[in-house]
Symmetry: C2
Subunit: 232 residues, 2 copies
Amino acid sequence: MPRVLRSSSRKTLVKKRVNKRVNKPVLRRQAKGLRTREAILARAVDIASAQGLEGLTVGSLAEQLGMSKSGLFAHFGSKEELQLATVEMARQVFIDKVTRPAIAAPKGMPRLWSLIDHWLILVEKRVFEGGCFFTAASFEFDGRLGVVRDRIAAIMHEWIGAITRAVQGAQNAGHLDPKLDATRLAFEFHAIAIGAHWAHQLLEDRQAYSRARLMALEKLRGVATLQSPRLP
Amino acid sequence: MPRVLRSSSRKTLVKKRVNKRVNKPVLRRQAKGLRTREAILARAVDIASAQGLEGLTVGSLAEQLGMSKSGLFAHFGSKEELQLATVEMARQVFIDKVTRPAIAAPKGMPRLWSLIDHWLILVEKRVFEGGCFFTAASFEFDGRLGVVRDRIAAIMHEWIGAITRAVQGAQNAGHLDPKLDATRLAFEFHAIAIGAHWAHQLLEDRQAYSRARLMALEKLRGVATLQSPRLP
DNA sequence: ATAGTAAACGAACGTTCGTGCTAATTTGTC
DNA sequence: GACAAATTAGCACGAACGTTCGTTTACTAT
C-alpha cells in the first residue's frame, strides 16, 4: 500500500523537543472514523454555541455521544485541536446556511438583502442550539491569545468582507448610492444583527429579529437608488 | 458546566443538607473585611471582563491578590455569590462612569448623546481590563439558567431602559421627532455600541469607536428637530 | 481466511476546580 | 492590655478537567 509520505522535516537541527504537538494524529482516516468525527463535531458545535468553546468539555461531549473520553479524544489529540475542528465545522454550517444561499440571489441589492436575511434566518431557526456560534465565540475569545482566537477572528474578517463586497456589488449594480462607505454600511448591518441576537437571547425579546429586519430594510431603503429592485 | 448533578448525597436521609446557602454571612462585617472585599471585587471585575465570569477562578484570584483561597472564599461562601458580587461591583462602576455622568448633561438631546458617548468612553478608556464587563457577561450567560444570568439580564434591561428614557426625554424636550419608536432607537444605539466593541476587540479595528460615534451622531442628526441643540 | 491497521475502550495520571473544616492571627472595643 | 469577634491561613476532600497508555474490538485489504 502506498505509504503516505510523511513530511520528514528533519532538516532543522533538533534542539530541544519543544513538545506541544508531538502526537499528532498521523492516522490515515477511514470511512468509519470520518463518520464518527462528523458526529462528534456536529454535537460539539451545538454545545459550544450554548456553553462556549471552553464550556465544551471532552468528558461531557463523550457522554452525550455514548462513547469513551479516550476514544473521542483520539480523533483530535488535544483540546485545542478539538476546538479548532469545531470552529471549522461551524464555519461550514455558516457557509451552507448563509453565504451560499445568498449568492443564489441576483447581484446587487437582492443579494445584499439575502445575506442579511439568511443570517437572521440562521439564528431564528436555531440551527445552532445556542443561537449563533460565532457571536458566542467572538465574545468568548476576544480577550485571549492563541490559534483559536486567531481563527475565529479570521473567519469574522471573512464575514465582514462578504457583507462589504455585497454592499459594493449593490453599488456597482447601481442599486445603492456609490458615495457611501461600504465598510461602514457593512458594520452597521452586522451590528444590527448582533444587537438583535443579544436582545433575543438575553432579554428574551421576541420581537428582536423582526425589529432587526425592519431596521435593516429601512436602512437599505434610505440609501437605495431609484434603479434598485423593490425590497420585501 | 453541569453543576446540576451535584450534592446528590441521597445515601443518608438523616441530614438533608441542602447546602447552597448554609453559611450566610452572619458576620458583622468590619472595616478591614469590607476593604479586603472591595479589593477582591475590583480585581474580580477586571479578570471577569477579560476571561469571563466562569474563567474567574477562586484560586487565581487569591493568588493575584496574595492571599489564600480559603481566606478569600470566606468572604462569599460560594462561587455563585462571588459572581453575583462581581456583577454588582461592575454595575456600580458602570453607573459611576456612564449613567451618572450622563445625567449631568441638560435634558433632551444633549443627555441622550452624553449617555452614548460615555459608554464609548468607558470601553475606550479600558476601565474594565477586558473592555466591557457586561457585553462579555451577556454573551457568556445568554444560554444558561440561574440567578447570575437573571441578574445580568435585569441589569441590561435597566440599561436599555435608561437609553429608552433618554430618547423619550429628547422627544419630550422637542429635540427628537416624537413619532419615532423610542425602543427601536434605543436598540439601534446599543447595537452600534456592541458592534463597535466587537470590531475593536476581535478584529482589532482601531477606527471602530470613532466610526461608532459617527454612526450614532449621523443617526441622531437624521432624526433631530430644528429645535435640537447642536450636536458635537 | 487472515494479517494488519484503524477505532474505541478502560483505567489511571497529575492538576485544578469549588468547598468544608479547624486553627491561628488580626482587629475593634472596653 | 484583655477579650470576643472577625478575618485569614492551612490542609484536605471529592469531582472534573485534559491527557496518556496499553489493550481490545472492528474493519479492510490481501
